[in-house]
Amino acid sequence: METLVEIHDVRKVYKRDQFEIPVLNGITLGVPRGDFLALMGPSGSGKTTLLNLIAGIDRPTSGRILVDGQEVSSYSETALASWRARHVGFIFQMYNLIPVLNAAENVELPLLLTKLNRKQRKQHVENALAIVGLADRMTHYPRQLSGGQEQRVAIARAIVTDPTILVADEPTGDLDAKNADETLDLLQRLNAEFEKTIVMVTHDPKAAGRAKHALHLDKGVLAEGQYGYEAEPAVVRT
């Protein structure tokens, strides 16, 4: 199976005053295209940091990260911003919708960074909201939606540009059981039906159970070992 995300001996050290705090201690991992991977682990284990590195909103202290063959860990700040706009769809625990924009305008935000015209953007927004089942909530503002609906708008925003990879940080962390279930159904559908590669950070074993694979981090290393996947390890080019 083709490897979409390649992580080579990645280390991340944060500096707090004069102290150096190692968060990731040499992670090597390959995520196959079309996978739905859950990253689990206790607080401070480094799972969100690893997700941020894959998503290109943070850079490793050492090591290399390649997504779809592009070495994103070497990109400049500006190049990373352009790369994220084109290749990454974000799903956050707190949805992170812009409160003063309605559902359609929130979903349209990433499209403003593309060359699509207004009509094309409108079409894409309608499609994305239809996929998440909120075609009738286009003009609703976040305050007029339930938590589950807000998260679905956020997922529509994440998929509207048809990104290479979806990253989700505790996507069910702020939802009740029913809405959490619906959100996971939607993620599974995006993975199965639309072949979206998803990397999800979660505390919840139930949520992790909905993914194709789960890996555990502890103190900045993968508990499962270097390659992680027991059944079918992805190929990491060296």
Partner: protein, 387 residues
């Protein structure tokens, strides 16, 4: 592509109370600044608008003001015969000999009094200033102790209404009319007959002579003839230039206005900065989300600066509205070049209002920059964790 403007407008209207407070704060600062500008503008226009570019003023060589100038009556006769002077309907040269004397008169708010320019003129003096109108009473008669008083002097000095008389020097002066000088410095004067004024004040010469040349070439040749004739020892300058130079006597007001404007712009800048620091602090996660989605740092910077400029623009407009009533204020000051009263209206015309609004926007842009830079530089991963 930039973050949509609806984002800024939505944010501004979502925090209505704090936006209103910021707009009012900036508005008050701009209103104070505009009032100072209106004062300066009023003084300037009261003096400069007096001078016509069509008229030439002849003064003693070396004199800066009409008060320390004199032109002998014999020299006036020489000037009268210069070629190039415009002729009126009766074929008379358009030339006005004038005497300026300072009277100290009691003010309504200051019994010790203040200096007022009294100008002696001939009927030609009125012909050369057709905008000057008697609005109450009648014109003074030549050869007697009658005066007409400008409306603003009437309002500010004691005993200057029609029918009143005031004492100055050895005789009383009867006020027979009130005139309006259309906002010129004549609005700070009292006018009477030049012959009578000269005789009772024992003046053997005129102060100045005002000439209307036939055309631009004639003006050049008259000026050259006056300036180059060593026997006359006179100088010619356009009336406009003369009054423009008089504003240097009001440099104190200009410095004060500049000083106040400077600090007011800093005040507005700090107001905008405070507003935007608060606005940005409450939207840290939102701005980090926009960056995560792929909006570049400069897009974040721009959106904060635009928002700041917009709030300040509203503040500028509020400032103009708050400052509008100053246009109704009429007051006076002393021109330290002539030591005489200059009456003027606060004048916040469209140009001054526009300058105030522009300065507000500039303050907004500058004030928004620091919060914008701090918002754009925030690490995404840390900002995303903000509640």
């Amino acid at each position: 592509m930039a973050i949509p403007l609806k984002y800024n407008i939505g944010n501004i209207s979502s925090r209505r109370v704090s936006t209103l407070m910021s707009v009012l704060g900036i508005g008050i600062v701009i209103a104070v600044m505009l009032s100072m500008m209106a004062l300066s503008n009023g003084v300037n226009s009261a003096i400069i608008s007096t001078g016509s570019k069509d008229n030439l003023m002849i003064m003693r060589d070396g004199s800066d003001t009409e008060l320390d100038s004199w032109v002998d009556k014999a020299k006036f006769q020489v000037l009268r015969t210069l070629p190039g002077i415009q002729k009126d309907a009766q074929g008379q040269p358009v030339i006005s000999p004038e005497i300026i004397i300072v009277f100290k008169l009691p003010k309504k708010d200051n019994p010790k009094g203040s200096n007022v320019n009294v100008r002696g003129v001939t009927p030609m003096g009125f012909e050369m200033r057709p905008y000057l109108k008697v609005i109450e009473g009648r014109m003074f008669r030549p050869g007697v102790n009658e005066v007409i008083v400008s409306r603003r002097i009437r309002d500010r000095f004691v005993g200057c209404n029609v029918g009143d008389s005031f004492h100055f020097g050895p005789q009383d002066w009867n006020v027979v009319g009130i005139f309006d000088g259309a906002g010129t410095s004549f609005d700070s004067e009292i006018w009477t007959d030049v012959g009578y004024l000269g005789s009772v004040r024992k003046r053997e010469s005129y102060s100045t002579v005002v000439i209307r040349p036939a055309d631009h070439d004639a003006a050049t040749s008259i000026k050259a003839a006056v300036d180059n004739d060593n026997r006359l020892k006179l100088q010619a300058k356009s009336e406009y230039q003369y009054y423009d130079e008089q504003t240097s006597g009001l440099v104190g007001i200009k410095v004060l206005v500049g000083f106040v404007t400077f600090f007011m712009v800093i005040g507005a800048t700090l107001g905008a900065m405070n507003t935007m620091f608060t606005a940005v602090a409450s939207r840290t996660r939102e701005l980090a989300t926009l960056r995560a989605l792929g909006f570049k740092r400069r897009a974040i910077l721009m959106t904060v600066v635009i928002e700041s400029a917009f709030v300040s623009l509203l503040g500028g407009l509020a400032g103009v509205l708050l400052a509008l009533p100053v246009n109704l204020i009429s007051t006076g000051t002393t021109n330290f070049k002539t030591f005489s009263e200059v009456a003027f209206n606060f004048n916040m015309g469209p140009a001054v209002a526009l300058r105030g609004i522009l300065l507000a926007v500039v303050a907004g842009v500058i004030g928004g920059l620091l919060p914008a830079i701090s918002a754009a530089r925030l690490p995404i991963t840390r900002a995303l964790r903000e509640i």
